[in-house]
């Protein structure tokens, strides 16, 4: 029995000893978590211990400086709390690499942490700014609130060693959902206060400030400061605004109403209509609505010489373009017919300054040559207007002063050229000596249309009947060659205004 008990005891003791020894081990490796310098003059390193191995473990921190091999131990283990090492000013050198190792040791062994290399220049992170307070400033026009703070107490800006920069952030506190509203950040430079303009009335703001030294790391955000914006900001100003806006809306509506009602007169007032061209004695309404005969008879106004009268007269109109006078170059155009058989070689000079196009298009005629000769003599109204005729006597509408018109098969070149400096007298050669015009012989005058048109009677009616022969060799040139009229000449005598 004793032997059993002994055995049991031995066994139990053995077991406990074994179990006891299996719980203890050398410590696990510690790990250096971070090192920070709050003002670029001192720094602190913290580590986290590994497993203790069940035995009381002590930690030491050893460091080496860049250029030397000498190993030093941490100067202060307590100032910064547990598992920390504080390097004071005497032991801190900037711009030098520190090689730091932490050793955990207990009765059973030691464990070395991984070495960490630190240059104080890179680990600068200041404390947050202090005494952050916010005040609401109610000025009349632009209310704002002012955020003020103090620099962290250990940063030395007075000697210029470090330069602090600040950042402010704020958000509106929503009692319901904190996550929804976002922070607004503002950079505040080196100043110690910051103004936020146009705050929301009735809102509750949270304000925080942080700082950094030179190019270092940002500090933690300071503790929050709160401010409540009052609700009734600048009532009178709001009232004025509302009244002004309402007035403007009313005025706008009134003008809109007036405009819609009185559209036409207002439009006429602002944009006077362009006067349309009117022909005196011509009734445009009749043109639009009347019958063909009415229109036709309306077109032939009593003031003009009638067609029937002129049928047996052979009249001759001579156009003299007097180049001594100051005629506008552009005002003169003459229509030339060149070549072609059965051509009516006419030269018609327009001395008017009107647009050829409008002049010619106002006169509409039709008919054969012979019968139209007189008809075309009924040239209307204004002096210095001529008809362009093509080969068949059909009036040609001149498109352009300088265009070549091909009208019909017979005539080939019809061109209106600016007459320019032309002493151009289109006169029948045979008749040249017969009818000295221009103020010398008035015995031939049969009628006076206006003060600028004289109707002469040709005493030799033999000419120009139906046979119209175009001279093939004839070329009418611009330069003042008189061309040979064949057949009837339709010319208009013009007297320049100067004579």
């Amino acid at each position: 029995m004793w032997r059993d008990a002994e055995q049991a005891l031995t066994l139990m003791w053995l077991l406990s000893w074994i179990s006891h020894s299996m719980c203890h081990s050398s410590p696990g490796r510690p790990r250096i978590t971070r090192c920070r310098s709050p003002e670029k003059e001192t720094f602190t390193c913290w580590w986290e211990p590994g497993s203790t191995g069940g035995l009381p473990t002590s930690y030491q921190l050893y460091y080496r400086k860049e250029s030397s091999l000498e190993v030093f131990e941490c100067p202060d283990y307590h100032k910064a709390g547990n598992n920390s090492c504080y390097f004071d000013k005497r032991h801190t050198s900037i711009w030098i690499i520190y090689n730091i190792t932490v050793v955990a040791s207990n009765a059973l062994g030691k464990a070395y942490s991984e070495s960490v290399e630190v240059d104080v220049m890179d680990i600068v992170q200041p404390h947050p700014p202090e005494n952050v307070n916010v005040t609401f400033m109610q000025t009349t026009n632009s209310p704002y609130f002012l955020v003020q703070w103090q620099p962290p107490h250990d940063a030395d800006t007075r000697s210029g060693w470090v330069t602090i920069k600040y950042e402010v952030r704020l958000k509106i506190e929503n009692s319901g959902n904190e996550e929804d509203s976002n922070w607004e950040s503002y950079s505040a430079g080196k100043q110690l206060e910051f103004s936020i303009y146009s705050p929301q009335p009735g809102a509750n703001y949270i304000v925080q400030v942080r700082c950094k030294l030179d190019q270092g790391l940002w500090s933690e955000w300071s503790p929050s400061a709160f401010i409540q914006i009052p609700d009734n900001m600048s009532d009178t100003q709001n009232a004025f605004m509302i009244i002004a806006v309402t007035l403007m809306v009313i005025i706008f509506l009134l003008t809109a109403g007036v405009l819609t009602v009185k559209m036409k007169p207002v439009k006429h007032f602002f944009l006077p209509p362009v006067p349309e061209p009117k022909i005196s004695g011509l009734d445009t309404q009749l043109l639009k609505s009347g019958k063909a005969e009415d229109i036709f008879s309306a077109l032939i106004t009593p003031g003009y010489p009638q067609i029937a009268q002129r049928s047996d007269h052979q009249v001759e109109y001579l156009v003299v373009s007097d180049y001594d006078e100051e005629m506008d170059f552009n005002g003169k155009a003459h229509l030339e017919f060149q070549k072609g058989e059965n051509c009516l070689t006419d030269t018609i000079t327009l001395n008017s300054s009107q647009d050829v196009r409008t002049t010619l298009s106002e006169h509409v005629y039709s008919g054969a040559v012979s019968s139209q000769l007189s008809a075309t003599s009924g040239v209307l109204g204004e002096p210095q207007e001529l008809l362009p005729l093509d080969c068949n006597g059909l009036p040609v509408k001149a498109q352009d002063q300088n265009t070549q018109m091909s009208s019909g098969s017979k005539c080939e070149h019809v061109s209106i050229n600016p007459a320019g400096l032309m002493g151009y007298v289109e006169v029948d050669e045979e008749k040249r000596d017969q009818t000295p015009l221009v103020g010398e012989d008035y015995s031939m005058v049969t009628d006076v249309i206006s003060d600028k048109i004289l109707v002469l009677q040709d005493s030799i009616p033999k000419q120009g009947h139906k046979e119209v022969k175009c001279d093939k060799t004839f070329k009418a040139e611009e330069t003042g060659v008189v061309f040979e009229p064949l057949g009837y000449l339709e010319t208009l005598t013009t007297f320049s205004s100067g004579s």
């Binding site: 000013k89 900037i94 711009w95 690499i97 290399e117 000697s159 210029g160 060693w161 190019q215």
Partner: protein, 226 residues
């Protein structure tokens, strides 16, 4: 007289050259007093120089972190740090107190020595970065800009020192200004330094220069910002 044309020309030229009124001289712009000129004060000069050094340091910071990011992803380049910078021979104060204890002449001298020592290495750095295909042109332009900035900064600090001497703030014991010499970027063992080492060392030295200038400014012209 019958002088030939070349002879006449020669005579004319000789007259012009010999005639003192024909010479052009240069006169300082502000010779007639401060009416037309704005001469910057010492505080202004200091501000400019400090801004310049801040820019230079931030450039070197950018380049260094770019390099680290792209070329040294692993942090196992431990051997890098124990190569000394070529400027390690220059004695520089390693903390605020040391810097404050240094006389202003010596501090100025240290700054100038540092800047002078980097003149050639920065040029070499730019050359080697420009030749390598790994760097993009942006980085090598930064290196060039950095070198120019260092040069300008040195000129600026020399002007500041000149002004201080004129104002009587610097004693005449400043011999170091002329003794600043250009150095070759060789490490202790005589080998040429790599680009990364140069960048690392310059980043550190530019931070030193910035700090020393600020200390100097607040010691000499402490009116604003100090």
């Amino acid at each position: 007289f019958g002088l030939s044309l070349p002879a006449v020309a020669v005579l004319l030229v000789a007259l012009l050259c010999l005639d003192p009124h024909g010479r052009v001289g240069s006169a300082p712009i502000c010779a007639h007093g401060p009416s037309g000129c704005h001469i910057p004060s010492l505080a202004d000069l200091f501000d400019r120089v400090i801004q310049h050094s801040a820019r230079m340091h931030s450039l070197s910071n950018d380049l260094h972190s770019e390099f680290e990011q792209y070329f040294l992803p692993s942090k196992n380049h431990i051997g890098k740090i124990y190569r000394k910078c070529h400027t390690s021979n220059i004695l520089t104060p390693n903390g605020k107190d040391n810097a404050q204890k240094l006389a202003r002449e010596e501090l100025t001298e240290v700054i100038l020595k540092l800047l002078m020592a980097w003149r050639d290495p920065l040029f070499q750095l730019h050359q080697s970065m420009a030749h390598q295909q790994d760097f993009n042109s942006f980085s090598s332009n930064k290196a060039l800009e950095m070198g120019d900035m260092a040069h300008e900064l040195r000129k600026g600090v020399e002007k500041v020192a000149e002004k201080m001497r004129v104002l009587g703030m610097l004693g005449n014991s400043v011999t170091g200004l002329s003794a600043a010499e250009a150095m070759l970027p060789l490490s202790d063992s005589g080998e040429a330094m790599s680009d990364y080492e140069l960048l690392y060392c310059f980043r550190r030295d530019s931070n030193k220069v910035q700090n020393y200038l600020k200390i100097l400014k607040c010691r000499i012209v402490p009116e604003h910002d100090c």
